[in-house]
């Protein structure tokens, strides 16, 4: 008998005669936040900042100049950008733009100073950005290897209040990365330290309409 058949037979024998267990009731809340777009935006801002992301706000016309300033302030010489990034977001920088080509090695990505992406959505209650590898986000590795990530969130349509609301909008067939603040560890005496393996600096640009 194969291991598969053995395990399944053992499972069936183990639960034989066990009481029925119906699926769970979903009487928990679908949101913990009042339905107020301005308050939701403030909450996202506050929770992102609480996790030590650097948060900026602007309007659509201000995105390019702001990103240009952020890259300049950091002294970045090169910036990685997914193919589907709106061109105007990188219109105000003198950084060398690097494409993530299929044959680019991880070591090449490691030499890039900054990366700029969009996101699939942001969750206010937890201060979380979710990336789903869409055209303005690129492959998972590009937001991981460089040390500086700038992520743009379009308000209000990319903003949700809660985790249950986010789940409704995400497609599990896509690779998903949930990001809440920069890389961090608390493994040494539970002292929080930012930046172990992922980007040490996460900047979030909230773009209002």
């Amino acid at each position: 008998m194969s291991a598969r058949d053995r395990i399944l037979a053992r499972v069936r024998a183990a639960v034989d005669g066990a009481p029925e267990a119906p699926p769970a009731a979903r009487d928990y809340l679908t949101s913990h936040t009042p339905d107020d777009p301005a308050a939701l935006l403030d909450l996202l801002h506050e929770n992102l900042a609480d996790y030590r992301a650097l948060v900026h706000r602007t309007d659509p016309a201000g995105v390019g100049p702001l990103i240009g300033r952020l890259l300049g302030a950091r002294g970045s010489a090169s910036v990685l950008a997914p193919a589907g990034l709106p061109p105007e977001w990188l219109a105000h920088t003198t950084c060398v733009r690097v494409e993530d080509t299929p044959d680019a090695t991880a070591a090449e990505l490691d030499a890039v100073d900054s990366v700029v992406t969009g996101c699939a959505l942001a969750i206010a209650e937890t201060g979380t950005l979710v990336l789903d590898a869409g055209p303005d986000q690129g492959r998972r590795r590009i937001t991981l290897v460089p040390d500086h990530h700038i992520c743009v969130v379009r308000i209000p349509h990319q903003l949700v209040a809660s985790v249950p609301q986010a789940m409704l909008r995400l497609d599990p067939r896509r690779p998903l990365t949930w990001i809440s603040g920069p890389s961090a560890t608390s493994d040494i005496e539970l002292d929080r330290v930012e930046g172990v393996h992922g980007p040490r600096t996460l900047e979030v640009v909230l773009v209002g309409e």
Partner: protein, 472 residues
């Protein structure tokens, strides 16, 4: 389970040795108190915590009741998404499958995401015997691996080490595993983390094969989920060409929507955060993004034995958050190593004897490694009634005979006499408080008892006096 801990003494002996170690006790007290206080705050933010806890409990119970159905569905979903599913009845079988998969890639080193399941089966040791080097990439696991040590906590495996000890381990051992520690390495956590970053980045950038576990698997979609903080998980899950995930069969949940419960309860219960920094979800393989080959090894290794126990099976609900460790007075003093298993603390005391049986001395002693105070049940985000299972397992151990627990019985008898005589207890409390300033920092007298214990701080007034004043 693996032979990693074979030869361990029974819990009472191991705990006795551990509580004599003042550094260890200090490290543990600091860590567990910090995290339990933070956790309470994080949980208090959610008004529906009890509903989420109940939903988590019922999702898990429903899944376990129909585990055969959901495992078959999971296999179909993962296969349809481009993954390859393997089944392993025990540790040897799982180790053999993983070893063969790695060898088929032609590689002799792998990077690893922190995983309880691979610790449980002793995978690193099994791979080493086949000439394959497995590098742990979680900072705490790295500390444990370099120090030739054993993990002592589910979430923070090096919780028993302080910064000075970690610096020494890095200085002495990093060079023999790859890039040496930087010159003049200090004991500042930021410097230590930077040393780990440099050391491990070399391994990430050249790794062709990664091995992980998973926190959840979704039967409906074939999605696997890993929660982490550092980004080492993302490195392993996305950079290599081949990914092998070894996951216990109890980690499956039926639907995509079920994840919304655990995405809320797991981070708050484990690291006391609203959300951990990184969560990765992948479904089979994706063209042009991440590993080209994905293997899922479904592991039984004693889980079906636990499933067959009417009372004990609730231990399989566990989502490995470690909240029960951080509130446990026994864990706080004895430390994780005393439990002789990769699963320490209250959950380890009920999970390990079910996975391994109770024939060895250490496994038979684990159901007694508890004061039955119930704090573990209170904090458990899937409502595992750990005290109930402990008592049930004690009965089973008692049935098979063995040494009695005479001292424990005598102490309980004395305590219950005092409890039954309220006047005696009240007088004792007041006398203790009047002399508060005179109390020594440590208990009087010499010997094993006082060397290994700290006196709790006395409150300003007895609880019963406070109650009378404020509540009656």
């Amino acid at each position: 389970m693996s032979g990693t801990f074979v030869g361990m003494p029974a819990f009472p002996k191991a705990a006795r040795d551990a509580v004599r170690d003042e550094t260890l006790r200090g490290n543990l007290r600091h860590a567990t108190h910090t995290i339990r206080d933070k956790r309470a705050t994080a949980v208090a933010e959610l008004a529906d915590w009890q509903e989420l806890r109940e939903a988590g409990r019922r999702i898990k119970d429903h899944t376990l009741r129909h585990l055969d159905r959901y495992l078959v569905q999971l296999e179909e979903s993962v296969t349809a998404a481009g993954g390859i599913v393997h089944w392993a009845a025990d540790a040897d079988e799982a180790n053999r499958i993983v070893g063969e998969l790695v060898k088929a890639t032609g590689e002799s080193e792998v990077v690893k995401v922190k995983s309880m399941a691979t610790q449980e089966i002793g995978l690193n040791e099994a791979l080493a015997a086949e000439g394959i080097h497995a590098y742990e990439t979680d900072l705490a696991e790295l500390i444990v691996q370099l120090g030739d040590d054993r993990p002592s906590h589910i979430l923070v495996p090096a919780i028993h080490r302080n910064r000075g000890e970690i610096r020494d381990i890095f200085r002495e051992k990093m060079a023999s595993w790859g890039r040496p520690a930087p010159d003049g390495l200090t004991e500042e956590p930021a410097d230590l983390a930077e040393a780990a970053r440099l050391h491990l980045r070399e391994k990430f950038l050249r790794a062709k094969v990664a091995i992980s576990g998973a926190n959840f698997m979704v039967a409906e979609t074939g999605t696997l989920v890993v929660f982490e903080s550092e980004g080492n998980g993302r490195m392993c899950l996305t950079l290599p060409e081949t990914l092998i995930s070894v996951v216990g069969i109890e980690k499956v949940v039926p639907t995509w929507q079920d994840l919304e419960v655990f995405l809320q309860t797991l981070p708050r219960s484990s690291t006391a955060e609203r959300m951990n920094p990184y969560t990765s979800m992948w479904t089979g393989t994706t063209d042009g993004d991440g590993p080209r080959t994905f293997h899922l090894v479904l592991l039984d290794n004693g889980r079906t034995d636990a499933l067959a126990d009417d009372i004990g099976r609730q231990a399989l609900r566990c989502i490995r958050c470690s909240a029960c460790l951080n509130v446990c007075p026994v864990y706080e003093r004895a430390g994780g190593h005393a439990y002789g298993s990769v699963y320490p603390g209250p959950i380890g005391a009920i999970l390990t004897p079910q996975l391994r049986g109770t024939t060895s001395e250490i496994d038979a002693s684990l159901p007694y490694a508890s004061s039955l105070c119930g704090a573990c049940y209170e904090v458990c985000p899937v409502a595992i009634d750990i005290p109930e299972v402990l008592v049930h397992l004690r009965e089973k151990v008692a049935e098979q005979g063995g040494p009695g627990h005479r001292l424990e019985k005598a102490a309980m008898k004395a305590a219950s006499w005092v409890m039954d005589h309220p006047a005696v207890m009240a007088a004792g409390e007041r006398a203790a408080l009047r002399t508060r300033a005179l109390h020594p920092k440590r208990p009087p007298g010499a010997g094993a008892w006082t060397e290994s214990r700290d006196l709790p701080e006395l409150p300003e007034e007895p609880f019963r006096d406070w109650w009378r004043k404020n509540r009656t």
